[in-house]
């Protein structure tokens, strides 16, 4: 575009220059022609020729006058004198006139003129003399005169010849000039023709452009005035030069009120004016554009009534007819901003609600499982007493109902855990055949009760052991088979395991088919939703929480697989799960957990710390029944005192307790020298929320026994104590990388980084405080205690131990020197630990 414009400009310039040159040359040449034409015209007046021929005529007139006198025809000498004077005058004209200057330069003419003048000058005294002298001398004068006769004739001829030559020259010049004029005329005409062609085309394109511009302008005006956005145009000095209809509505000004006003005073709210002015000034002086041409920006604008509203604005600069202009497009986004705020609030509320729900579920699970623990435990004890057949049947019924209730609670907990992303899966070598067989065995009685047959088989060759979480997979399969059994009467339930080798493992498909009532295809997808119990008959038959298949789906996903179903109403159903499984490199651990382990050979002394009397009683009775010695404590503090007064093989520690909770009690036992400092401590808790278990182990616990307690697991725990050595705290270095990695994966990288920073800051602050001194021992103990907890979380064992030592020393009353020693140990230890914690990058570590 600039090139075209430049090109057009140059072309116009060239035409103009050509035209001017043509005019100048034409005028010059025309003037010359006119001048010459005039010369030509005056030459035609023949004055010179006449004058020259008149020389001879007047010479002859003089001669005639003298002859007349000599012949006596007149005695009047006046005529002679007059003719002489006339002749004299003529010669004088030739001698003096500017007209004949050129002629006089001709040597021949000059000589001839000189001869004649000599004669005249010689004769003057005689002519001017007395009559008688003149009459007497006239013949002599006449003789002299006749002598010049030839000269006079030659003079005239010379002059005429000269002027004829001059005329010829002039004619040639004129001819040349005319020739040039003709050529020039052709050139100029050609030029004019070309110019008119160019001008015609220019005019036509100009007209077309004018029409286009007019149309565009009309269109633009329509666009501007129908725009829903305010359009405000200002000039370089910030004065408004255009204000569209939408702007009138948005700002509440009439166009004529604001035209020419400063934009900053009209629509920029007072608190933004300085910034606006600074921006404009910066642009004027440096040309820097921060807002202009940067697309949409959000800012605030002001209405005529002074109210300020949020606006979205885009400013562009453009070249107007009077210099640079700024075009601002502005939209009132009050509604949008309000909607966004509302949305954020709504979301926050929803999130808070979701969190509350999750917390509610967690709390409820605890609150429900604790009494259930008591219930089931007591039932177990009741079962061990002497009962009539009827009573035994009632107890069985109670156990079935209690177990079902426990299953429901566990379902809810599984959902909560899964939603929190903390559904634990533990991949161990697993024999699929054994797993499926156990499921079938588990369900066989129920199937028989519904007159169903149940069978299972491999499709193809059985697989070697694979890596998966057998508990979770079993849970899924029991759910699927359980459903099949429930919805089939007098039919057949079939489980098939198929495998397609894939890399280092196989894609395993387990299908559970039945010949039951089936499900409408359109309902299949909904089956896996939470709280979905299929059609009403399904709902009635299942009579459950509606979480079964939802949990199955979650568990399958947690195992890395997918779950689905195919069915027709009345045609039975087929549920399938697909699992990509790796082959196990280790053999499958033998021994089933479902069978009650043998009671331990050796009786143990056990401290039970539990505030709930029922639960305490249940535990006590179960343990005593197995021949163990039991001491009870009702709260943490009591438990700690007992632990310090006597040695125990095992401490079963409830977590939620008044006075001192389980975690704190454990820490106290571990940190205080005493008979139980290294004793095995196992948490007994319904606290099954993620992160809790690690908190317990960090506090120094060796294991977790979740409520409700069942005898099998309790026995297993005691057997394990006999056969396994106590796991020592990992002390591979200042920081346990495994613990750190676990912690990082539990809470995620972002939160980890944040907490780690808090840890480092706290540590720095603590060390600074200790180094400075001046704090009371209680304060130091508190700070050390707090820091020790944090150190445990980050797997900083040595630091934790050192802090614990310091804390204890402070609480027991420590000498200044001892404290100084402790601090001297702590400071470098903190520095090293700090480095170790910070150097953790989250990269996988070898455990």
């Amino acid at each position: 575009m600039p090139f075209t414009r430049r090109h057009r400009y140059l072309r116009t310039l060239a035409i103009a220059a050509l035209a001017i040159a043509g005019v100048v040359v034409s005028v010059a040449l025309g003037g010359e022609v006119l001048r010459k034409l005039r010369l030509l015209e005056t030459a035609a007046s023949d004055n010179i020729q006449w004058t020259l021929s008149q020389v001879e005529v007047e010479y002859l007139d003089l001669a005639i006058a003298i002859e007349q006198f000599q012949l006596g025809r007149t005695d009047d000498l006046d005529t002679v004198r007059r003719e002489f004077d006339i002749f004299y005058s003529r010669i004088r004209t030739l001698s003096e006139g500017d007209l004949y200057a050129g002629l006089r330069e001709q040597p021949a003419f000059a000589r001839q003129l000189s001869v004649i003048r000599d004669f005249l000058d010689t004769s003057v005294p005689l002519i001017d003399g007395a009559d008688d002298a003149l009459a007497r001398e006239l013949p002599v004068l006449f003789e002299d005169m006749l002598d010049t006769r030839t000269t006079v004739r030659e003079l005239a001829a010379t002059g005429l010849g000269y002027f004829a030559q001059q005329a010829d020259l002039r004619r040639e010049e004129i001819a040349d000039t005319l020739f040039y004029l003709a050529i020039l005329t052709i050139v100029v005409l050609t030029g004019l023709f070309a110019a008119s062609v160019v001008l015609f085309r220019l005019n036509r394109s100009n007209e077309a452009r004018a029409r286009t511009i007019e149309a565009a302008s009309r269109r633009m005006e329509t666009i501007v005035n129908t725009s829903l956005d305010a359009i405000v145009v200002s000039n370089r000095t910030g004065r408004i030069i255009a204000f569209n209809d939408a702007a009138e509505i948005i700002f509440g000004y009439k166009r004529e009120q604001v035209i020419g006003q400063l934009m900053s005073e009209i629509i920029v709210p007072p608190h933004l004016r300085n910034a606006h002015e600074a921006g404009m000034e910066r642009f004027r002086t440096t040309g820097e554009k921060r807002v202009i041409g940067q697309g949409r920006i959000k800012l605030e604008a002001m209405r005529s009534d002074g109210s300020v509203f949020p606006a979205e604005m885009a400013i562009e600069s453009a070249e107007g007819s009077d210099g640079e202009i700024f075009v601002g497009y502005l939209r009132d986004i009050s509604h949008r901003v309000k909607a966004e705020t509302d949305l954020v609030e709504a979301r926050d509320k929803a999130v808070a609600g979701e969190k509350a729900k999750s917390e509610f579920l967690a709390v409820m699970s605890h609150e429900m499982r604790t009494p259930l623990n008591g219930l089931l435990g007591t039932l177990a004890l009741l079962k061990g007493t002497k009962l009539s057949a009827k009573q035994a049947q009632y107890v069985d019924n109670l156990e079935v109902s209690g177990g079902l209730l426990l299953t429901h609670i566990n379902d809810v907990l599984d959902v909560t855990k899964y939603e929190a992303g903390k559904l634990d899966v533990d991949f161990v070598p697993t024999d699929l055949s054994a797993l499926v067989r156990s499921v079938v065995d588990n369900q066989r009685d129920l199937a028989s009760a519904s007159e169903n047959t149940i069978e299972w088989s491999w499709v193809g060759k059985p697989l070697p052991p694979v890596m998966t979480d057998p508990q979770r997979l079993r849970q899924v399969l029991i759910n699927l088979v359980g459903n099949a059994v429930k919805f089939t009467r007098g039919g057949r339930i079939r489980i098939e395991i198929g495998a397609v080798p894939q890399g280092g493992g196989a894609d395993v498909t387990i299908t559970v088919s039945d010949t039951g009532i089936g499900i409408a295809p359109e309902d299949i997808d909904r089956l896996f939703e939470d709280f979905e119990t299929g059609d009403r008959s399904y709902g009635r038959a299942r009579n459950g929480t509606g979480l079964g298949l939802g949990i199955a789906r979650r568990l399958t996903r947690a195992l890395g697989g997918t779950i689905g179903a195919e069915s027709e109403l009345g045609e039975g159903s087929t549920f399938w799960i697909d699992l990509p499984l790796d082959y196990a490199s280790d053999p499958v651990e033998t021994g089933t957990k479902t069978k009650l382990p043998a009671r331990p050979a050796q009786a143990q002394s056990i401290l039970v710390i539990e505030d709930n009397e029922i639960n305490r009683t249940v535990l006590r009775e179960m343990l005593i029944a197995d021949g163990h010695r039991v001491v009870e404590a009702e709260d943490g503090l009591q438990g700690v005192h007992l632990a310090q007064s006597a040695a125990f093989d095992l401490i079963l520690m409830d977590i939620s307790m008044p006075v001192l909770d389980g975690v704190a009690a454990t820490e106290l036992i571990r940190s205080t020298p005493g008979p139980c400092q290294t004793a095995r401590i196992v948490a007994v808790t319904a606290h099954v929320m993620p992160g809790e278990v690690s908190r317990f182990t960090e506090a120094g616990m060796n294991g977790v026994l979740s409520k409700p307690i069942d005898r099998a697991r309790l026995r297993q725990l005691l057997v394990a104590q006999e056969t396994t050595t106590e796991p020592a705290l990992s002390e591979t270095g200042l920081v346990d990388p495994g613990r750190l990695a676990e912690f990082r994966s539990e809470i995620g990288d972002d939160l980890f980084a944040k907490l780690r920073q808090t840890f480092v800051d706290d540590g720095d602050a603590l060390v600074a405080m200790l180094s400075a001194g001046g704090e009371g021992p209680t304060q130091v103990a508190d700070r050390c205690h707090k820091m020790a907890g944090a150190a445990a979380i980050f797997g900083a064992g040595p630091l934790r131990e050192a802090l614990k030592t310091t804390e204890s020393a402070c609480r027991e009353g420590v000498s200044e020197g001892r404290l100084a020693d402790l601090i001297a140990t702590l400071v470098p230890l903190w520095a090293d630990t700090r480095k170790a914690v910070l150097s953790d990058t989250g990269a996988p570590v070898a455990l």
């Binding site: 005056t42 007046s45 003529r90």
Partner: protein, 174 residues
């Protein structure tokens, strides 16, 4: 020539006085010449002082009105001062309001001068050149001179041809 026709001219004047006076009463406006007659105007004129003619001496011309200007001419060398009566003034005095002048010189040179040439600031009939009367040898005694330098329109051959010297007769024709 004037000398030759002197008595006749006088007779004409007398006749004009006796015949024309009662008719026009303008003959009185033009006195008889007292010096040598230098110009004789004939033809279509309203005022005469001789038989069908107005005869004038240098003084009479001067009395009608004297004008002086300086100019160069193509026939002379250097700037010249000319003094004479404006042709317009003369023609006014003679009651000429149009037509053509046939001006004749001593050597019988004749040129036609349109009366429209006679304008204020236009040609004069000069009788002094550089303050001196002009002899015949000096193109005198009368010379119709245009102010060539004052008005470039006069610097043309046509005007030059009308610049008649040794003028002694003018006939006014319609």
């Amino acid at each position: 020539m004037f000398t030759t026709h002197g008595p006749i001219a006088r007779g004409v004047v007398v006749a004009a006085l006796t015949v024309a006076a009662p008719l026009s009463g303008m003959a009185d406006d033009l006195p008889q010449p007292t010096g040598d007659v230098v110009l004789r105007v004939t033809g279509d004129i309203a005022v005469t002082n001789a038989e069908g003619a107005a005869v004038l001496d240098t003084q009479m011309l001067a009395d009608i009105g004297e004008t002086t200007f300086s100019t160069t001419t193509i026939w002379t060398e250097g700037e010249q001062s000319f003094t004479g009566v404006e042709l317009e003034d003369l023609l006014d005095a003679l009651g000429v309001d149009g037509g053509m002048l046939e001006a004749r010189a001593l050597n019988d040179y004749m040129v036609e001068i349109p009366v429209s040439d006679a304008v204020e600031g236009g040609p004069i009939i000069a009788y002094l050149r550089n303050g001196e009367p002009m002899s015949i040898r000096d193109k005198g005694p009368l010379w119709i001179v245009y102010p060539y330098d004052l008005n470039t329109d006069y610097a043309s051959e046509l005007i030059y041809s009308r610049s008649i010297w040794q003028l002694d007769r003018i006939e006014v024709v319609r």
